[in-house]
Subunit: 415 residues, 2 copies
């Protein structure tokens, strides 16, 4: 029990890891900058190519499936409560569409309300002693989760890093694939492929190297495949389970958010293979199943109906992906025309990661906002290795992307 | 870093708290018993009055609102991604409908995918040293969360309790309200009102006593109000914030699940008042806001549309609540006719808690299943103080409830 306190209303001991968190969660900070700019310049039209938030309407067939399911909830026949039967067909369709020859079974799939939520539920699997390796730059939730769960020391202002995390820099110097030899003495390794924010997409050989490294060093690989549907290169794996041996060490999370524009609808899935075993022989899958039943109460049923419609109509879904890919192409062409040299991502990712030579990320972010009224995301917000870059998202209407690019040219961005 | 292992594929240190968990999560165990019985007796029609799972179709106006919103997601005007604007009107309506004079503001409300999920997110607020008090019997997630988060020692088979938890027995001996004097030296106190499973509903005087106890002892009160809409006694508070001072020590969670049949739709809310301060003066609300942005990505937008329709049509929603209340009345009348003496709950709760003298809960559960083919929930599954009782849920069609009661009479249940 904690001691009584004079300054508080409760003596409950705080999770002091919160005090280590360096700054606000990245996207709310960006949103605040946007609001402040808009308030100061009410006449300017701000375009957001910042947060990776989908903008394209859902295909009619998907919206309709959800509408019909929702209407059905008002009928005796169509009503469902906990554990809707629709979960099972969604699992089967996922395996059929994305994991055909991967040797996975239904009971290794957990259908959820999204990847971010699953990443937080994963935290409960391991204890505080676990040492964590995280690519840099990377989706901020990996670091923030790791801090909140108590695996780190303090935030070091000078480096922008936390004590106790093994950062794996990915940049121009190593073709955006980490030097794994520096991350042997860890227990958990995050890997996002295609990477957010860099847009880098690993080759099969690189992923084989990754899996081998984790098997050799008995590291649990937390593989975030949220952008897998953007992979265009036919020879690049879309799931870690295409790699021999991955079922022994890798859990994968994925989502309908970027695949099908479900950022607001909320539907995702995780895979925890039964082959992964802790040192005491217990299955990671069984602990995760317990967590999933104790910390969660099932994916929203209407979203499940939408997800099933997506999986049954992948051609229509991929048309929307192609729409964003065309946005990416327009952005890359514009940046090339403007003479930028360090343009990455895009081909297998909805994000373009571009270097502003001689400028910090936030300075570049501010310049783009001031000059072109376009919101991007500062690369350094994803980790110190992202310094000097901004991430430009392809999630926008065609009109907005074209207008943003017109402004980039008009103000001669980068020169 | 953990040591290499011979028996595992990973050396990642397991959260060993999982090994303490005594048995499976209650409801899957009940579901398994049901499946086994059904497989062995394919000719019998099993009726479930077990898990608190809503069965009544959604009111047309709610189903329709979700259908229209879902259809809108297929249009340029109606599409929304992260952070749908509909969150704000839902918060405002919640305050207007349930918290009118409670002095709460929008930024103290967190709209989520349900109470169970919120209860798990709360875990992150306090550290392992926090001592926890839990009513017995109670919703199993309180205990399971507390074990998984590392606040307990081992499970003691003999008592059915975990070392380190302060259990607060609620039974016939104390009018189902705990002796708070035994729970002074704790940091967190769970309280569910109306209680699940006993159906007990605290008076205003009892809640004043509860709040005073928590203020005096600087205890964070985790108040679960998931069944508040079933409170019929006009003088009984429906939220803890009706009690003076509660804003200093109480966080409250609630849900549309039992209020509006959203068990599958997934929508809930939590309130974390800004007046609650840790010993260092930090606001619990600010930490929770950080968790909510890091571990969660927003309530499903279609569910939000449904929730808003509920709040705008509370008369229609309450008609469904009344439907279940009539089920409860039928169950209670039947049990009275059969001569049961220990019948509790029901009036302000969707659950009837009934004592089977001289019988353990699981024996009573089995007898009801064998004799009447009705699934109930064993009281002891909610904690040792529930031994000897079963919980009968009012969540069923009228037809099923009437048929279950007919069978109870036919087999002379309890005699």
């Amino acid at each position: 029990m904690a001691k009584r306190t004079a300054d508080g209303t409760i003596k409950t001991p705080r999770n002091e890891n919160f005090s280590k968190l360096g700054a606000g969660y990245l996207f709310p900070v960006v949103a605040k900058k946007r609001r402040e700019y808009a308030a100061a310049h009410p006449d300017k039209k701000v375009i957001s190519l910042g947060v990776g938030d989908t903008t394209h309407p859902l295909p009619g067939i998907v919206a309709n499936a959800m509408c019909v399911y929702a209407a059905g909830l008002g009928t005796k026949e169509g009503y469902s409560g906990y554990d809707p039967v629709i979960v099972e067909p969604v699992k089967k369709k996922l395996i059929e569409v994305f994991y055909k020859n991967c040797g996975l079974t239904d009971d290794e799939f957990f259908i959820s309300d999204g990847s971010k939520c699953d990443l937080s539920r994963f935290q409960t699997l391991w204890n505080e002693k676990a040492k964590v390796a995280i690519p840099s730059p990377a989706y901020p939730a990996y670091v923030d989760n790791t801090v909140i769960s108590g695996h780190t020391g303090s935030f070091i202002e000078k480096t922008g890093e936390y004590e106790g995390i093994t950062y794996m820099p990915c940049g121009e110097q190593n073709d955006f694939f980490p030097d794994l030899s520096k991350a042997k003495d860890v227990d958990i390794m995050y890997f996002c492929n295609p990477n957010n924010p860099t847009g880098a997409c690993a080759t099969k050989a690189q992923l084989e190297q990754l899996v081998k490294h984790c098997i050799d060093n008995q590291i649990l690989l937390v593989y975030d495949a949220a952008y897998a549907c953007y992979i265009r290169d036919a020879d690049k794996p879309k799931t870690i389970y295409e790699i021999e041996g991955a079922r022994k060490i890798a859990i994968e999370s994925n989502s309908f958010s970027k695949l099908a524009g479900f950022t607001g609808v909320r539907l995702g899935w995780s895979i925890v293979p039964k082959e992964i075993k802790y040192g005491n022989g217990k299955l990671v899958r069984d602990d995760y199943n317990r967590i999933f039943n104790t910390h969660f109460n099932g994916a929203p049923n209407v979203a499940l109906a939408g997800g099933l419609a997506c999986l049954e109509n992948m051609d229509v879904i991929m048309d929307v992906v192609k729409f964003y890919q065309e946005n990416t192409r327009i952005i890359i062409e514009t940046l090339k025309e403007l003479g930028f040299k360090g343009i990455y991502g895009g081909r297998n990712s909805p994000y373009v990661f571009v270097k502003f030579p001689g400028k910090g990320s936030w300075a570049a972010f501010d310049e783009i906002l001031q000059k072109a009224q376009v919101i991007t995301t500062p690369g350094v917000g994803f980790g110190p290795a992202g310094e000097g870059f901004v991430r430009i998202s392809s999630y926008g209407t065609r009109e907005n992307v074209v207008e943003a690019c017109r402004r980039f040219k008009e103000v001669k961005l980068g020169s």
